[in-house]
């Protein structure tokens, strides 16, 4: 019996908020009659989450007009699309940003920048009319009356909220098709699933062709559909066939592996996911836990002391490497995309460096969300290890490789060969040229990401960074409080270059002498982008910065709510005379998302870092540890 003073409420359920509230049972029946859903085994779905429920609540039907953009290259994906009827065209060449409705920030010239600086509008958040409304053809999304087209016995329905969102039509779409710059996707083909599963950007723009009816499946639904073995196998097969080899090649450790070996690796590699993809939803709670509690709450990927069975490669997300210490665990490093786990143990086990198989020396846990590739030890030893440069192996493993009986003979041969080539190079190449060549090579190696991650010292700083997920930041703003005189010149400079509107305040968590300021970090995993309905929030491919195309920002605030660090602010905008922009229909103020843009329009770069007179402020990449280590080391 509940206590007398309790309040009774309904427990929230999975599908309280369906993706499209207008999906009807008739829609679901229609879908179930079509492939691939007709071939799915409904018995493989749990009773609480049946197949028809997934289709009804995690999917949305769209009927696109010819030339209408379905997904844009560079937009972060939260759902995949299945072509049901008609066709879609995948654009095979990159399109200019303005064609896709994005207005790229152009670098202002010196005189322009100076002129604008000397003549501020004096109005809070002033915008020109062309920055408030899009300069591309925008229409209300056409009603998803697919059913009237597909079968006349089903009623039309309004598309509700989604339909009011503006959509984009590609100019001269027909010309691109005629020029052969598109690849056709026909009924039954799925696209965008890799970007969705990996939380990455779409690799290409897809535009609707004739009579295109598509089913949008959000990530949660996509994961559920994978419960059907055939569907999961089909998706995995698709990934293996088209993407896995590309992803493996991108890993520095595997770059010298020959094609034939890589094919075997692709065949044997397993794909796994850990943790919760929407980690930002729990972030505010988990960051308040003590490090020990947080470590305990993280899903374990590999446990210390167990036998090593796979080389684990981080495909996306972050992993925490920790080690038993006393009665708890302490963090020794964190891993990001492309980092590997278990390399030293595998190498020592394979080469017999310790005389017996070496168990894992650390545990790996998923920080929020972790997507991994697992290469079995035997496959790794056979196909990959012989092609890894010794300098890229951990020191102990490299030493073991050096003394491995199987390599002694070949090592001697290589030593003699190198000695010969040394003497040849001394006689043929001048000393300076040789030195510069070596330097260039050394620099190239330095540029490579560390394959095993690197640890910070002391552990407290490392745990603070992981605890607060600052390791997500690629342009995190850090202030050294032992050098900062609190003059606020950084904030003033930011305001000066943004027409009097600073894009950050000098506040934020601090650990010992380092303050992590609340300014956009242009994250590795930019969760703010995921829900953006128009793609206004996007990543600049050239610079990697997360940008806002204000002209297509509809002011919905999804990004501001999604940013776990509260670094995006919604502001009502006015014209340079101070008159607020209002919506024609609702008379509500027009709001736009604002955040740090790294002063990308300025000739001088980020004004905050340049304005600090005491070397106290830096914009730094925290997804790798060396930049922060170097920065701290320099401060002596």
């Amino acid at each position: 019996m509940p206590p007398v003073d309790s309040v009774t409420v309904h427990r929230p359920r999975r599908w309280d908020e369906p993706m499209d509230p207008h999906m009807t049972d008739a829609d679901v029946d229609w879908l179930l009659a079509r492939m691939p859903f007709a071939g799915l085994d409904a018995s493989q779905f749990p009773k609480s989450i049946p197949l028809d429920g997934v289709l009804k609540n995690d999917c949305r039907l769209h009927r696109f007009s010819p030339g209408q953009v379905i997904v844009r290259e560079g937009d972060y994906a939260n759902s995949a699309f299945l072509v049901l009827e008609g066709n879609a065209e995948l654009i095979t060449r990159p399109l200019p940003p303005d064609v896709l409705g994005r207005r790229e920030v152009e670098k202002r010239s010196w005189p322009e920048a100076l002129w604008q600086f000397l003549r501020p509008s004096g109005v809070r958040e002033a915008r020109n009319p062309e920055d408030v409304t899009p300069d591309v053809e925008l229409h209300d999304r056409p009603g998803t009356d697919h059913l009237s087209a597909a079968s006349s016995d089903k009623s039309n329905h309004s598309a509700g909220e989604a339909e009011t969102q503006p959509t984009l039509f590609l100019q001269d779409f027909g010309g691109l098709v005629r020029a052969g710059q598109t690849a056709r996707l026909v009924a039954g083909e799925l696209f965008g699933e890799v970007a969705t599963m990996l939380r990455g950007p779409h690799g290409a723009t897809v535009v609707a062709g004739e009579n295109a009816t598509l089913l949008e499946i959000r990530l949660q639904g996509l994961k559920m559909l994978q419960r059907d073995t055939a569907f999961a196998e089909r998706m995995e097969e698709h990934y293996r066939e088209h993407w896995l080899a590309i992803h493996l090649k991108e890993i520095p450790l595997l770059r010298f592996v020959p094609e034939s070996n890589l094919r075997n690796v692709v065949e044997h590699t397993q794909l796994r996911s850990f943790g919760r993809l929407q980690w930002n939803a729990d972030y505010s709670k988990t960051r308040k836990l003590s490090p020990a509690e947080q470590i305990e709450s993280e899903p374990i990927v590999a446990r210390e002391g167990h036998h090593v069975t796979d080389l684990i490669i981080v495909r996306s997300g972050f992993g925490r490497v920790c080690q038993n210490y006393g009665s708890a665990q302490r963090t020794t490093a964190y891993l990001g995309k492309g980092h590997v786990f278990g390399l030293e143990e595998i190498t020592l086990s394979v080469t017999g460096g310790n005389g017996s198989p070496m168990p894992l020396q650390h545990s790996l846990r998923a920080v929020g969300f972790l997507d991994t590739l697992h290469i079995p030890v035997e496959c790794f030893a056979r196909e990959v290890l012989p092609h890894i440069r010794r300098s890229e192996l951990p020191p102990n493993a490299a030493e073991a490789m050096l003394h491995s009986p199987s390599t002694v003979e070949s090592r001697e041969r290589r030593a003699l060969k190198r000695a010969r080539s040394d003497s040849e190079s001394v006689s043929s190449v001048s000393g300076n040229e040789e030195a510069s060549g070596t330097n260039v090579q050394a620099k190239a190696w330095d540029d490579l990401p560390s394959p095993t991650g690197t640890s910070f010292e002391p552990t407290g700083l490392l745990e603070f960074i992981v605890q607060n997920r600052y390791n997500n930041g690629r342009q995190a703003m850090i202030i050294d409080l032992h050098r900062c005189t609190r003059c606020d010149d950084c904030v003033k400079a930011c305001a000066d270059v943004h027409d009097g509107n600073p894009r950050f305040a000098r506040i934020g968590n601090h650990h010992e002498r380092l303050q992590f300021v609340e300014a956009c970090m242009h994250c590795t995993d930019p969760v703010c982008m995921i829900g953006c309905p128009t793609g206004a929030l996007h990543r600049d491919e050239a610079t990697g910065l997360v940008r806002i195309s204000e002209n297509i920002c509809i002011g919905c605030g999804v990004c501001a709510k999604g940013c776990p660090y509260d670094n995006i602010e919604m502001v009502a905008v006015s014209d340079p005379k101070g008159r607020p922009f209002l919506d024609v229909k609702s008379k509500q103020p027009i709001t736009k998302a604002t955040k740090c843009d790294m002063c990308s329009g300025l000739p001088s770069g980020p004004a905050c870092a340049a304005a600090c007179p005491h070397d106290a402020l830096v914009r730094i990449d925290l997804s790798e540890s060396p930049p922060l280590e170097d920065w701290l080391r320099r401060r002596t």
Binding site: A113, D422, R486, C487, K492, R635
Partner: protein, 311 residues
């Protein structure tokens, strides 16, 4: 490392070892050998200033021997230095142009200032005669102002290195503009604590203490003396008073006293932050205003001196 190099490395002589040890020591002291460090920057900049001053002194000596006007040369040097020194203010106010980072400008400012002090000693004959201030109203004022600006510059350099460290180690990291708001919050919390008392003894004892001492401390602003020399005297007195009250209070009243003591400590930390941040800001204003006055006076002095030289 190649096989040839590995073989060579085994035959390191004692001389080479000694050279390596010396090289390591130099690297450790100077910061050389690293990509970049503050230590290395200091050593390089100080060396450049020392060499420049030595060259300048040599030149002055040669000119003096040749019976030339060394004052003209050192005067122009000083004027150039002063203009370079005040340009940092211009750079600070124009963040939109790629004129280099303020950090670089600050380093140039510091070492140009040090160089200017050396040139000043060569330029003003009184300094060489053991007097700091030159004779004559204008020259005396000018030299006094130069020393004031130089002194404030040296103080600023030390303060900008020491005060941030002190700020970081005391209390929360609050922005100066937010401090009045935080003070209000603390004052409100104190009032709420006092008003929430229910025990008559506590109301009498704590209420009287609040009326006579605590409200004045919490509601008031720090004194000018505190702003100049922030000390913990006031805080200790108030805390001692609160501790003294405990013997007259029951358990609940003691707990309230403890919470009030925490608020007093917080308020004192805020005042400390305020005093130090204010000091840094006032220093910048003072130094920049005095620098502008110095440049104006130096220009007047220069015009007069050039007229004298020409005549």
């Amino acid at each position: 490392m190649s096989l040839v190099e590995r073989r060579q490395s085994n035959a390191v002589s004692a001389t080479q070892k000694w050279k390596t040890t010396v090289a390591h020591s130099v690297q450790r002291v100077s910061g050389f050998g690293r990509a970049y460090s503050f230590r290395r920057r200091r050593v390089v900049a100080a060396a450049i200033v020392a060499v420049s001053l030595a060259l300048d002194a040599g030149l002055v000596s040669v000119m003096h021997s040749a019976l030339l006007h060394t004052g003209v040369m050192t005067g122009w040097m000083l004027m150039s230095c002063l203009i370079l020194l005040i340009l940092i203010g211009v750079r600070r106010r124009i963040p939109v142009l790629p004129l280099g980072t303020m950090s670089v400008w600050t380093q140039v400012h510091i070492y140009t200032g040090v160089f200017a002090m050396g040139v000043f000693a060569m330029h003003v004959p009184a300094v060489l005669q053991g007097r700091l201030i030159a004779s004559g109203y204008l020259e005396g004022s000018l030299s006094g102002l130069f020393l004031l600006v130089s002194g404030s510059g040296v103080y600023g350099l030390i303060a900008s290195r020491r005060i941030p460290w002190r700020l970081t180690n005391v209390g929360e990291q609050v922005r100066m503009d937010q401090i009045p708001w935080y003070r209000e919050q603390i004052a409100r919390s104190v009032s709420q604590e006092v008003q929430a008392l229910t025990n008559p003894a506590s109301i009498a004892v704590i209420g009287e203490f609040h009326r006579r001492y605590l409200s004045r401390y919490i509601g008031g602003k720090p004194s000018l003396l505190y702003l100049l020399v922030p000390t913990s005297v006031r805080r200790r007195r108030v805390l001692a008073g609160l501790v003294e009250l405990n013997r007259y209070l029951e358990e609940e009243g003691c707990r309230v006293c403890g919470r009030l003591a925490a608020l007093v400590r917080r308020r004192d930390d805020l005042d400390y932050q305020y005093a130090l941040q204010l000091r840094l800001r006032v220093w910048v204003m003072f130094h920049s205003t005095a620098s502008i006055a110095l440049v104006v006076m130096a220009i007047i002095h220069g015009i007069l001196a050039m007229r004298f030289v020409e005549s």
